[in-house]
Symmetry: C2
Subunit: 112 residues, 2 copies
DNA sequence: CAAAATGTTGAGTTTATACTCAACATTTGT
DNA sequence: ACAAATGTTGAGTATAAACTCAACATTTTG
């Protein structure tokens, strides 16, 4: 059930019928790097590179980011607040389900 | 209003009346490293080192972590979920106040 | 005031991150 | 079949992260 970053990327790229070379070109990295990532010979790229990849493949970045262990600068900004960290620690302890996350999203929106 | 990591650490350490050498010893780093961090000559340490520092100083880690730009492995785990990332992105757009964060904490607890 | 404690500085080290380059292997289209 | 496209591999590079070590300066205290 725990898919690697590489396998996931390869799958998405295949769905989109794009070659490693095309993707690499549009992202701005060497194509051999894409190959290594897809075969899990190298760890996932930097968060900002993952976002470029997602943009190129026209998929939501969080799908790839979530599988990467990397945190984007945007998210680091959000976490630059003690309350945010406390919140996330509580969340961790509770081990939220997907449904619960979405419920929270609702609460969030109805906050304003 | 934007205090540096170094100044904050120095303040807390002084409040606790602990020397750089004591702190360094108990954390397991060189004392000169503490000095450089406190004077912002070097960037904040790794997240896990920051946590050790907070433990040694007996303060909640999130106070220091929030000012560091670093993300602990614990938090990285929480963010290994697309829903979590989506949630945090929404939060970012909304620029939540402290009060709102706490309100969310409440909602979170009342979720179970 | 002297010595012990504490703090600062410059220079270096080790390890990890984030890739590139060149060569070769495999697959695909005609 | 054969060439163009695509994918894989090994080796290397450049930069940053996360520190250490040794020397010296400053402050504190008996």
């Amino acid at each position: 059930m725990n898919e690697t970053f590489g396998k996931l990327l390869k799958e998405i790229r295949h769905e989109k019928n794009i070659s490693q070379r095309e993707l690499a070109l549009s992202v701005g990295v060497d194509y051999s790097y894409i190959s290594k990532i897809e075969n899990d010979r190298l760890p996932p790229p930097a968060a900002e590179t993952i976002i470029k990849i997602a943009d190129s493949l026209k998929v939501p970045p969080e799908i790839l980011l979530a599988n990467s262990g990397k945190v984007s600068n945007d998210l680091k900004d959000v976490i630059s607040n003690p309350e945010a960290i406390r919140f996330l620690n509580t969340v961790k302890q509770m081990n939220l389900s997907n449904a619960e996350w979405q419920s929270l999203q609702q609460q969030l929106k109805s906050l304003r």
